[in-house]
């Protein structure tokens, strides 16, 4: 293995291109071209004017957040409690409703279906929501919420509430909520599956000890299961919030962010302004905001995971 160090022309090349580095090169090239460069370019574009290309500081951010027809934070409407509240606010509403429901029902279902006969089949069915394309999920929910052809309205008529049937996603006050409902149906399976895996990691001895001590199921759940699922919960919460922040497909298919921007979300507004509307600068600003939120949140959660 010893080459004549001083005379070999490949010497320095070999020192640098160690196997460890060589193996990294393809990935490095891809990430450079398709991830790093675009992100930097997006950040740069968010600070320049769309028409002149000059540096304009935070003007784009200001305009997409507070101005225009569909500001991301619609101050006046928020104060009055009227829709549309703004894309950013809608994302937070989404998180506020979707996250607790998915986390709790995920945990609940994982525990419930652990011991039930045929539990694995039921789990697979629930999980299908995660596997199907989101646009199909959106279509599914358009279908369900339709005035005439939809199950939800039929159910309402069945229980005597036939008077309030309508196409739920077409109206400003219920559009966002109906899509959120759809997204809960789609994403609960994810929480359930991850919690199921987490449950398997809990040592049986703990449960056996609790049984011997005569603890009730309720107590066992809260004192043993939930704490032991802490790291799992962190993963579920992180992935779910990221999914909620990036939501696009369902909004596009069901409402196009309407009516009147009532179901607008960050990703959709970015598409509408930046790509459909061709305003690269404003679109980049929204993209940067979205990215800051996702990276920031992820970084925070990763740091929490390291804590004992």
């Amino acid at each position: 293995m010893m080459k004549n160090k001083n005379k070999n022309p490949f010497f320095f090349l070999r020192r640098f291109f160690t196997i460890s580095r060589l193996f990294l090169i393809p990935a490095f090239i891809f990430l450079m071209i398709f991830v790093f460069y675009p992100i930097v370019a997006t950040v740069y574009t968010s600070f320049i004017s769309n028409t002149t290309g000059n540096f304009v500081g935070l003007e784009n951010y200001n305009s997409v957040l507070f101005h225009g027809v569909y500001p991301l934070i619609n101050g006046p409407n928020i104060l009055q409690g009227v829709t549309p509240l703004g894309g950013l606010v809608n994302n937070f509403i989404w998180i506020g409703i979707h996250l607790p429901v998915v986390v709790f029902s995920g945990m609940f279902l994982a525990v419930l279906l652990r011991d039930v006969k045929g539990g694995t089949i039921i789990k697979s069915i629930v999980f299908l929501g995660v596997v199907i394309p989101l646009v199909v999920g959106g279509v599914l929910f358009r279908f369900i919420l339709d005035k005439d052809a939809g199950v939800v309205n039929a159910f309402l008529s069945l229980i005597g509430l036939g008077g309030i049937t309508r196409t739920w996603y077409a109206f400003a006050d219920t559009a966002l909520l109906s899509i959120i409902l759809g997204s809960i149906w789609i994403w609960t399976g994810f929480g359930m599956i991850v919690y199921s895996a987490g449950l398997q990691g809990i040592p049986v001895e703990l449960y056996e000890a609790a049984e011997i001590d005569g603890a009730s199921r309720w107590k066992t759940f809260w004192r043993i299961t939930v704490p032991m699922l802490r790291s799992t919960s962190i993963v579920v919460v992180t992935m779910t919030v990221l999914w909620e922040l990036k939501i696009f497909d369902i909004v596009y298919v069901v409402t196009r962010g309407g009516p009147g921007g009532a179901s607008d979300v960050l990703a959709y507004r970015m598409y509408n302004i930046g790509i459909f509307g061709g305003n690269y600068a404003a679109g980049s600003a929204i993209a940067v905001l979205l990215t800051l939120m996702t990276i920031g949140f992820a970084a925070y959660m990763v740091s929490r995971m390291s804590k004992p």
Binding site: F23, P38, I132, P133, V139, F143, A149, A287, T291
Partner: protein, 308 residues
């Protein structure tokens, strides 16, 4: 050399068996308590809630639209009508043949599934076996890169592809998906490689095998289960992707399967029979992959969840 591998496998097997014995539960008491009944009922109610939408679209797809218009649950009259699927596939009513679109999706999904595996395996091996401070920092960056939304890169990528005439060209889309798949795949594989005992490789090294040979002959075969996870997850993810397809492939002749679905909604008759038939066609493949590789899919998904 072979002897050493055999020893490794027998040791692993012994280890796994001992672990499995540990978690074997004590014999179930056949007593049917009120609680058991309750949980089973709850479980099946949950199953029903989740399956109704799927049931709905299935029934709607096999009947003519006139019967479904006011509710697919009205089972009289019931005429079996497979032409919806044929219509969706050939694009007779809509002008967008799903058959072509699904083929296009395959053209993109298959390369975009296998190419990143190659690249991420190399990179992950490097991360796992050759530690360094820089590597740890790079790894952290990779962890955070997973969270980046597609919107963050799309505008510069769109411009780049436009200049390179890669718009409406599957190559660009494949490379883009590859790049986006790399962070989480490298993460997953590195964790996997870390769990592989290094003795085999060291022994082979002593015997004079090159790193490449070690990688190809020893590490890769053992890694197959992990690779199966990557295949399952990446395939479903690329097939289901909508945003990149929407922005990069704009020629309807080249559209991918998920792109055609919103076109069916927005373009013509809200013919739910046609729409549901189309949705089922698009859903089949990801569901099939999930069912076939279920164990690996779930394992891949929960990899980060079940830590210590």
């Amino acid at each position: 050399m072979k002897a050493k591998i055999a020893t490794f496998f027998s040791k692993a097997k012994a280890y796994l068996v001992s672990q499995f014995k540990k978690i074997k539960l004590p014999k179930e008491k056949p007593k049917i308590t009120r609680f058991t009944v309750l949980t089973h009922v709850a479980a099946w109610v949950i199953a029903t809630i989740w399956i109704i939408p799927f049931l709905g679209i299935f029934i709607a797809s096999i009947r003519p639209y006139s019967e479904v218009q006011f509710g697919w649950w009205n089972l009289q009259p019931f005429h079996f009508d497979p032409t919806n699927f044929i219509d969706a596939w050939s694009g007779q009513t809509s002008g967008y043949p799903l058959g072509n679109a699904m083929f296009n999706s395959l053209l993109v999904t298959i390369p975009a599934t296998f190419l990143p595996i190659l690249i991420s395996a190399l990179a992950a091996y490097s991360f796992a076996r050759f530690r360094s401070r820089t590597k740890d920092i790079l790894f952290l960056i990779l962890v955070l890169l997973q969270t980046i939304p597609q919107q963050a890169v799309i505008i510069p990528i769109y411009t780049l592809f436009n200049n390179l005439h890669l718009l409406n060209n599957y190559i660009g889309l494949i490379l883009l998906h590859t790049a986006f798949g790399l962070p989480w795949q490298v993460l997953f594989l590195r964790n996997f490689f870390s769990t592989l005992p290094i003795e085999i490789e060291e022994a082979a090294r002593v015997d004079g095998a090159s790193y490449y040979k070690i990688f190809r002959r020893i590490v890769l075969p053992i890694t197959l289960p992990a690779l199966a996870s990557l295949v399952a997850l990446q395939f479903v993810f690329v097939w289901n992707d909508f945003f990149f397809a929407l922005t990069i492939i704009t020629d309807p002749r080249l559209a991918l399967a998920p792109q055609v679905i919103p076109l069916l909604v927005g373009r013509y008759f809200a013919n739910y029979s046609l729409l549901t038939a189309g949705s089922i066609l698009v859903m089949i493949l990801p569901i099939a992959i999930y069912v076939a590789l279920q164990r690996y899919y779930v394992r891949g998904l929960t990899a980060g969840a079940v830590k210590g």
